[in-house]
């Protein structure tokens, strides 16, 4: 009996000691030591969205390159990412791990509108930076006042939509637009942007807009047939990759030959469009989209210093990766931005300092510190109430498996400078 009592007492004492030591909070900034900075992120490495897996690999390659140069303010970056399979439930658990177990300094590049929406409040409650999320949903830029610890990076979908509107008004003034869009925030962001870009005077250019459901188990055949029947001569596709490919093929099968096709940037990469072509679509050639980064699949950029540096980094730090995949370059360009704000946050690194730096970025052409991996002239710029880091893009056209730029940069967010 006495023995049992002693055992129980000892167990309680040990438990209490564990609880007390566990409760002792570290006083320094989490994830930062004299020599290291821990950055983490979730990406889909498995499942239907695993095509995005090169992004974190590209980021890792650039961080390794920076570490080899001595790191940031004397600290080396530790980059750690995990697979959430594009399931927000996994994203939430992994993010708890990053914050509570690994004590990451900041979460960088987390991919996907829904997964990142799922953890946004948690990260803001815990005052952990949710930087440069890999999604163009407008909310991550626009709602900075509600979510001060969250920031996007790429041009938002609304801005992109508006660029198509401006392009159509300028270059295809007599076009009759038939729009296919996804029936959710993603598609609606684009459609709203398109209408804004067309301007009040040209709303009637959209003669038909058909929504399709991502949940539909059948391809958007009915919608495309309605667009054809409406008499539209310009096919605007605001869809995710699979429905986009289907839309191309269905239009051809219905015998619809729109004079122009506009495809949003999410789906407009050579691999997807090649599938559409191989599946029998004859309207892929000449498709119009936008880009803001150097395109490694287009040899035209090979002489750019940024492209040369990119290929060196990939050859040395991610030799197994496909350097011609634009997603690798996307990762490298995003990591470049991350390193810039880490530098700007200074030697005495804090989470608040990092956010302050990210809220006032001015990496622009004139200052000679522009992102070398973006198209020449594209700024990464935030200031005060303007929190859309990248908003300049160029219109591109697909010809013979390469996207060629058409003309100069366009600003999707008129307020920039």
């Amino acid at each position: 009996m006495r023995k049992t009592f002693l055992l129980v007492a000892a167990a309680i004492a040990v438990s209490a000691a564990i609880v007390v030591t566990a409760g002792a909070a570290p006083s320094a900034t989490p994830g930062v030591t004299a020599k290291t900075i821990l950055l983490e992120g979730t990406f889909p490495l498995s499942g239907p969205a695993s095509g995005y897996a090169p992004i974190p690999a590209g980021m890792g390659a650039y961080f390794s390159y920076v570490n080899a140069q001595g790191g940031v303010n004397g600290r080396k970056i530790t980059w750690h990412f995990e697979d959430d399979g594009y399931n927000p439930a996994n994203t939430v658990q992994l993010t708890h791990k990053f914050v509570e177990q690994d004590h990451a300094f900041a979460l960088v590049g987390g991919l996907g509108t829904e997964p990142q929406t799922a953890v946004r409040q948690y990260l803001n409650d815990n005052k952990v930076p949710q930087l440069f999320v890999s999604t163009g949903a407008t909310t991550f830029d626009r709602d900075f006042a509600t979510y001060p610890w969250t920031l996007g990076w790429q041009p938002d979908y609304e801005a992109e939509g508006s660029i198509y509107g401006k392009y159509v008004v300028k270059n295809l003034a007599s076009a009759k637009l038939g729009v296919l869009y996804q029936n959710d925030d993603y598609g609606n962001d684009y459609l709203r942007g398109l209408k804004a870009g067309l301007g009040a005077a040209h709303q009637s250019m959209i003669i038909s807009a058909q929504a399709y459901d991502l949940s539909a188990t059948t391809p958007p055949s009915v919608q495309v047939a309605k667009l054809k029947a409406s008499g539209a001569d310009t096919f605007v596709i605001f869809a995710t990759p699979t429905p986009t490919i289907q839309a191309y093929v269905i239009a051809t099968k219905l015998g619809w030959k729109p004079a122009h096709v506009i495809t949003n940037s999410v789906s407009a990469t050579d691999p997807f469009l090649t599938i559409a072509e191989k599946s029998g679509s004859d309207i892929v050639e000449g498709s119009i989209s936008i880009n803001y980064l150097l395109d490694p699949s287009n040899p035209v950029y090979n002489k750019q210093p940024g492209m040369k540096l990119y290929r060196q980094i990939m050859a040395k730090y991610d030799p197994k990766g496909n350097a011609n995949d634009p997603l690798n370059l996307y990762g490298v360009a995003k990591a470049w931005t991350t390193v810039q704000v880490l530098k700007a946050a200074g030697k005495n690194l804090t989470r608040a300092g990092l956010m302050k730096a990210a809220r006032s970025m001015a990496y622009t052409k004139g200052k000679k510190n522009a992102n070398p991996f973006s198209l020449p002239g594209v700024s990464v710029f935030t200031k005060g109430n303007f929190q859309y880091p990248i908003s300049q893009v160029t219109v591109i056209q697909y010809a013979n498996h390469v996207f060629q730029p058409l003309g100069s940069l366009i600003n999707g967010r008129g307020a920039l400078r």
Binding site: L45, A53, P56, P88, A89, Q93, L94, Q101, Y122
Partner: protein, 342 residues
């Protein structure tokens, strides 16, 4: 001794649950909370699959129904999340009963196929009515926080909620499968013809089992939504239904305690063990374990290994070990009093 096995086992489980949060970090406590809710789901599914012999590839959707019930009541109607838990079970249970009525006319693989339609249509319906469900964009629930004036880390609070529910639902399941009704369940599993001949209404029993399992999964789904603080259709993929079934098989279909192992597997394989094994492999062989899909390979290998080593799941393995121990013991006894010597 075997008379005490059930209550002793339960007491051991309850003690382990009470001690665990003191021994592990808050994050692991958070993970163990999910083990608790998966235990509820697996125990429910086990009543249908393990005890009644009806395979379901759709119970992740009942978790989804429970989760959406809680989410809509909390977010749009201002309910307190805890009060929605039983209601989520009821909603899922009623839908489960309704589905069970026609579905139980199918047998074997045909039923499995029919149940496969549940998660498919669930995702479709959620996306079809975005103004009600939040559609693809989903809905954010309030962040986890302790209640009733108890100030404790949110992870620990969530752990307590999940395990209180699990430790109530677990003995209830035991009572369900123990008595006359439980015998009817097993009779249907072992031979429908014999069961019918003995006056068991197989359709009624199967439908009831469907409803009960859906009720359990609805409760689990409600806890899931509270813990994840977000729902959208991607949160309840078809994989989830399959993962639950895998959990049952690995834990040992037809055993309630086996479900504890199943729940541990379901929670940890995706988030912790899979990546952990991958890290080990990459360190040992310099392989690119961040290549897309490598996590699934680990999952598959673990599954095959477990099924090869323990075809009757963790519960079967434990039973086998116990049998070996008792055989060794009885051998010792018989050597002392070998009947041939007498």
């Amino acid at each position: 001794m075997s008379r005490f096995r059930i209550p002793v086992g339960f007491a051991v489980l309850a003690c382990a649950v009470a001690v665990a949060p003191f021994l592990v970090s808050n994050y692991h406590t958070y993970q163990l909370a999910f083990v608790g809710l998966y235990l509820v789901a697996l125990v429910g599914l086990d009543i249908l699959t393990g005890f009644t012999g009806q395979i379901s590839l759709g119970h992740g959707a009942f978790m989804g129904i429970g989760a959406y019930t809680t989410t809509i009541l909390v977010v749009d109607h201002g309910w307190r999340d805890l009060w929605t838990i039983p209601l989520a079970g009821v909603v899922a249970g009623v839908i489960g009963l309704a589905f069970g009525l026609p579905a139980t006319r199918f047998a074997g693989p045909y039923l499995a196929l029919a149940t496969f339609a549940i998660p498919l249509s669930f995702i479709g319906i959620v996306k079809r009515f975005p103004s009600f469900t939040g559609g693809n964009v989903g809905k954010n629930l309030p962040q986890l926080h302790s209640e009733f004036g108890w100030h404790v880390n949110p992870s620990i609070w969530f752990y307590v909620v999940c395990w209180v529910v699990a430790l109530v639902m677990f003995p209830v399941a035991y009572l369900i499968v123990r008595g006359r009704f439980g015998r009817a369940l097993r009779a249907v599993r072992d031979s429908e013809i014999a069961a019918t001949a003995n006056g068991v209404s197989t359709a009624a029993v199967k439908t009831a089992a469907f409803g009960i399992s859906a009720f359990y999964c609805g409760i689990a789904g409600s806890l899931y939504a509270i813990g994840i603080t977000y729902v959208n259709p991607d949160t309840f993929p078809i994989d989830l239904s399959i993962l639950l079934l895998v959990g049952i098989v690995l834990g040992g279909a037809g055993s309630l305690y086996g479900m504890v192992f199943g729940a541990l597997f379901v929670e940890f394989i995706r988030i912790s063990w899979g990546p952990g094994i991958l890290d080990l492999v990459s360190k040992a062989h310099h392989l690119d374990t961040h290549a897309p899909g490598s996590g699934l390979v680990v999952y598959g290998v673990v599954l095959l290994l477990v099924l090869y080593i323990a075809p009757a799941g963790a519960a079967g393995l434990v039973r086998q070990l116990l049998a070996i121990v008792s055989r060794l013991r009885s051998k010792k006894d018989t050597s002392l009093s070998d009947p041939s010597l007498v």
